[in-house]
């Protein structure tokens, strides 16, 4: 009888832990129902030896142009041009930066918005630079 009670208690404790874990994995994201690219985006551009794998992009929309910065506060790369093609929600971003030696380097990102209706939407695609670097690109809206 005691063992059964202990088993029951342990099972309910385990169940509580399971529910708690499920709750913790549901990360809230601020809603953004306006222009789909506006906001802060955090993710990776895999294999980027110049700037590292992690990338943060902040973008805004003034009614005509998408503007923004890549890695504000560290690299401060101003986005030279960014476009969003609503047909397929295709994203194209270009930005000029400098590598560790101070030489000019141009990054180009091509991707597509995924999960558009959700606040936790993402842009997934590839990045490349003009020095042969390329890799997978993925950022999620914060």
């Amino acid at each position: 009888m005691v063992n059964r009670f202990r088993n029951l208690s342990a099972a309910f404790a385990l169940f509580g832990l399971l529910v708690a874990c499920m709750q913790l994995t549901a990360v809230p994201v601020a809603a953004q129902e306006g222009h789909p690219l506006k906001g802060s985006w955090l993710g990776t551009w895999s294999g980027n030896k110049t700037l590292g794998n992690d990338v943060l992009i902040v973008m805004t929309w003034d009614g005509k142009n998408i503007t923004g910065t890549i890695n504000p506060g560290t690299d401060n790369i101003v986005i030279k041009s960014a476009t969003l093609n609503p047909e397929g929600w295709l994203v194209h971003i270009e930005a000029d930066a400098k590598d560790k030696a101070g030489a000019a380097i141009t990054f180009t990102i091509d991707g597509k918005i995924e999960n558009l209706p959700l606040a936790s939407r993402a842009v997934s695609g590839t990045w490349k630079d003009n020095k042969g670097g390329t890799g997978a690109f993925r950022i999620g809206r914060q």
Partner: protein, 375 residues
């Protein structure tokens, strides 16, 4: 024995925890398919009389040789709408035999939206919502006025009740455009989407996709986001306008969403610095200043955030949105609402719309209280 019980508890808990959030109060077509009619006859097993939608559960014989019974969930309008139509939690009981005509769930589950519920024994139609506007008086009553002559926008005397409801249009469409929609702003034909308003390409595509998903992503219903902008004047539960002349402001008390309020300042303050330390914070209701011009209150509102849908039907907006709303009360029973939308972030030019609301006299506004995911 205990193991079997525990296993059931775990299975049930896992199913509940892993099931995607149910769509709460919603456009019925977001969840149900009007191209999938369903006719069911069976016995009521449970009546779940609560917001946001009443559910009647019924056991329906499958028609198979073994006489298997399946339990169906019939979703109906809210208790408030049903009660206003004369029904109560006591209208139907477990054991009653009923026939239901409706439309089946899009996801193939045993759920249906009940368009018609009939008592099988008598053929009497029950549990349908039929909320009609109050009849207009044969001779219109004159516009009620304050002693200074200004029209009164709310109740007319101490102790009287009333509110504005029954908007003549429940979705925002540019004036002069014919784009038929249902009461929730869902277009009858998606081909009409470009006509609704002069949208920029991204906004048109976003609007079209929201429509094609049957408005199921509407944050007002999913997450109880406030109905900012003109949407508060197009919701069926209505609103109250409370004029606080001493403090020179008008409160818009909203009968749905999350039952909050909007303030329209009439004391001459500017949009900036309305509330100390809050200049840069974009808001669901923006920053509104109102000014009387004869019998018309002109409201200039800016400073909206982008966290909500400002219309039924999902027209997009940006934080560049500016609204000019003109309120007038041409007679006792009518509120006229004229709107100009200026949002260069989402639209190619400013555009306008107008509609009227009806005065619902001597009644308290019902409280459709929204809770997260239970709106």
């Amino acid at each position: 024995m205990h193991l079997r019980v525990l296993r059931s508890v775990f299975v049930a808990a896992f199913v509940v925890a892993s099931t995607p959030l149910a769509i709460a109060h919603h456009e019925p077509l977001a969840k149900f398919d009007d191209k999938k009619p369903v006719n069911l006859t069976g016995v009521v097993s449970l009546v779940d009389w609560r917001n946001p939608h009443v559910h009647v559960f019924m056991n329906v014989k499958s028609g198979a040789a073994d006489g298997a019974v399946a339990n169906w969930a019939i979703e109906l309008e809210s208790p408030i709408d049903l009660e206003e139509s004369g029904w109560s939690h006591d209208t139907l009981h477990p054991g009653d035999r009923i026939s239901v005509q409706g439309m089946a769930a899009r996801n193939g589950s045993r759920q249906a939206w009940g368009k018609s519920v009939m008592l099988a024994a008598t053929g009497r139609k029950i549990l349908f919502a039929s909320v009609a506007p109050p009849p207009l008086p044969l001779a219109p009553h004159p516009t009620p006025r304050w002693p200074e002559g200004q029209p009164r926008l709310g109740a007319t005397a101490q102790g009287t009740q009333g509110y504005w409801a029954f908007p003549s249009a429940t979705a925002l469409v540019e004036a002069g455009v014919n784009a038929p929609m249902d009461a929730w702003g869902l277009l009858k034909s998606i081909a009409d989407a470009p006509k609704v308003a002069p949208m920029q390409p991204w906004a048109l595509k976003l609007y079209t996709e929201r429509q094609q998903r049957f408005l199921q992503d509407d944050p007002m219903y999913l997450n109880c986001k406030p109905p900012g902008g003109p949407r508060q004047f197009q919701l069926s539960p209505g609103l109250q306008l409370v004029e606080d002349r001493g403090r020179q402001r008008i409160f818009v008390l909203i009968g749905s969403g999350n039952n909050n309020y909007r303030i329209i300042y009439t004391d001459g303050r500017s949009h900036q610095g309305q509330v100390g330390g809050d200049d840069e914070n974009p808001l669901f209701y923006g920053r509104a200043v109102g000014k009387w011009d004869g019998d018309t209150l002109t409201i200039d509102t800016r400073g909206f955030n982008e966290d909500f849908w400002f219309t039924n039907g999902g027209l997009p907006h940006t934080d560049q949105l500016k609204l000019i709303e003109k309120l007038s009360r041409p007679n006792y029973d009518t509120l006229k609402y004229d709107l100009t939308v200026d949002d260069p972030g989402a639209y190619t030019r400013p555009w306008s719309a107008s509609w009227t609301l009806r005065w619902v006299a001597d009644r308290e506004m019902a409280r459709h209280l929204c809770q997260e995911n239970r709106s």
